[in-house]
């Protein structure tokens, strides 16, 4: 299944009509110890680039943006009890939410694995 990345350090896995969203290993490293994740409600309509979730580290709160437009279908309930999953397994168990794909064309503008790696290496 293809994985895309944004320049705001979110990843998005596309499987059929559904997408799973999380933050990258680089992002969790920058944020530090995560103590709470505020996920969007199921049914919430997200706009590409708009606020989707909030990550609270010990030090600060950071916004996570919607990589594409769509409707939230599921939140990762494991993060309620164990927000540190975002630190330990950011690109697997620490996923944030699933959503519908409102406009497939929006995927075109995202980076693939190789492009994202190059992007991070230049930061």
């Amino acid at each position: 299944m293809p994985r895309y990345f944004t320049d705001e350090h979110e990843w998005i896995d596309v499987e059929g009509e559904s997408a799973t969203v999380g933050i990258t290993d680089y992002a969790q490293e920058q944020l530090g110890d995560i103590v709470f994740v505020e996920l969007p409600d199921v049914g919430a309509m997200l706009d590409k680039g708009g606020d989707a979730a909030v990550v609270e580290s010990v030090k600060a709160a950071s916004d996570v943006y919607a990589p594409i437009t769509g409707e939230v279908t599921e939140g990762n309930s494991a993060l309620e009890d164990e927000p540190a999953l975002v630190n330990s397994s950011p690109e697997e168990e620490g996923w944030f939410f699933r959503m519908t794909i409102g406009d497939r064309d929006e995927l075109e503008g995202l980076m693939d694995d190789k492009a994202y790696k190059a992007f991070v290496d230049n930061l």
Binding site: F36, E38, V58, P83
Partner: protein, 371 residues
């Protein structure tokens, strides 16, 4: 102006520090590696010994004829009771009684030694120079670094290197002495900003790297960044200037009446005394409290505090307590809602988080006051 570099800048980077601009300097917010990260650094300090670089802070030396009298005209301190080798918390106030800074004052032979906050030090120097007579000399010891070694094992690690006329273990909380570390002069105070036993160590800047490396070679010691410094002081209930203290806040509102020494509470005669004495007699409308929040979502600086639907205060600093595993905060609230146990709420992103007024410190202090 780009941030300046402190004497240990390269040393921090060698230890894997992530550097951020703070108080006009590039400073370590946290370190990477096995023991790095804010929570790991926090817990290390509570159980072992954390080494902090606080060289951004201002170290000032005052001397001259009539020193005590001149300083008492500015600070609400009683210098007649500050003995040689003792250190005391004090406040720099403006004419209206607002807090310009909080600081430590130590009695050296023939001198008073002040440690002030980094972000305010040049304003502090200007303020002191304006209000102290010309006979008083003010030296900014900017050729000195300041390290803090904090935690229950700090004394063991430091005692292996600090030699002096008497043993390091003879120092009790808020006392200081002259020692030698690796042949360099070191003024060591038993004090700090974490709530733990520990030391603040003033050393020549050109010896900072050697001494930091020496201390770090001890098995109890890891370097600790600003992130954990903030979470540690928050748990210890210690206010942070620029957040919990400001020119808009009086020390009486802040619950820092101990910073107005007893004789001065009746005599006055310091900057801002009119308001301070009035507030000591008549009380204040709001006061600084601790809050413990339900759940895991922290309330940060600026969050509004409610009792029912009525706004009764504002959070001035808040975060997640690694020791307690819950969010904690400091807030200024109306006196009617400031009693321990009062049930309030904090508004964060349009949600109301239940919060209970809690005694501070959140985590008990473990200062060494003598065995």
């Amino acid at each position: 102006m780009p941030p300046e570099k402190l004497p240990l800048d390269a040393w921090h980077r060698d230890q894997g520090a992530r550097m951020v601009p703070f108080a006009g300097y590039e400073m370590p917010i946290q370190y990477t590696g096995e023991h790095g990260g804010i929570v790991a650094e926090h817990e290390w300090t509570r159980t072992n010994a954390g080494l902090f670089d606080v060289s951004h802070m201002g170290q000032l030396l005052l001397s001259g004829e009539g020193l005590d009298e001149a300083v008492e005209a500015v600070l609400p301190i009683d210098l007649s009771t500050l003995k040689l080798g003792r250190q005391r918390y004090s406040l720099l106030l403006d004419e209206e009684g607002g807090v310009l800074d909080d600081l430590m004052v130590s009695r050296w032979p023939g001198h008073l030694y002040l440690v002030v906050n980094g972000a305010t030090k040049f304003d502090d120097i200007g303020h002191l120079r304006e209000h102290l007579p010309d006979e008083i000399t003010l030296n900014h010891l900017d050729d000195h670094a300041l390290l803090a070694l904090q935690g229950p094992k700090a004394v063991d690690a430091l005692a292996r290197h600090a030699t002096g006329e008497y043993s390091l273990s003879d120092l009790t909380f808020m006392r200081f002495g002259k020692f030698s570390i690796a042949g360099h002069n070191a003024t060591i105070a038993r004090a700090g900003y974490t709530g733990e036993d520990g030391f603040e160590i003033s050393i020549p800047a050109d010896a900072a790297e050697e001494i930091a490396t020496l201390l770090l070679s001890e098995p109890e010691v890891q370097p600790i960044g600003l992130g954990a410094r903030d979470s540690l002081r928050l748990e210890a209930g210690l206010p942070l200037y620029g957040h919990d203290l400001s020119p808009d806040i009086s020390p009486i509102e802040a619950g820092l009446i101990f910073g107005i020494n007893k004789r001065r509470r009746t005599e006055g005669g310091f900057l801002g005394a009119d308001r301070i004495l009035r507030e000591i007699a008549g009380g204040t409308a709001k006061t600084r409290v601790g809050l413990t929040l339900e759940g895991r979502m922290p309330a940060r600086e600026g969050a509004e505090v409610y009792s029912g639907d009525t706004k009764v205060g504002t959070v001035t600093s808040g975060g997640f307590s690694p020791t307690l595993g819950v969010p904690i905060a400091m807030a200024y609230v109306d006196q009617a809602h400031a009693a321990d146990g009062a049930e309030l709420s904090c508004e964060v992103r349009k949600k109301r988080l239940p919060a209970t007024v809690s005694p501070m410190p959140f985590v008990p202090h473990r200062y060494f006051r003598g065995s």
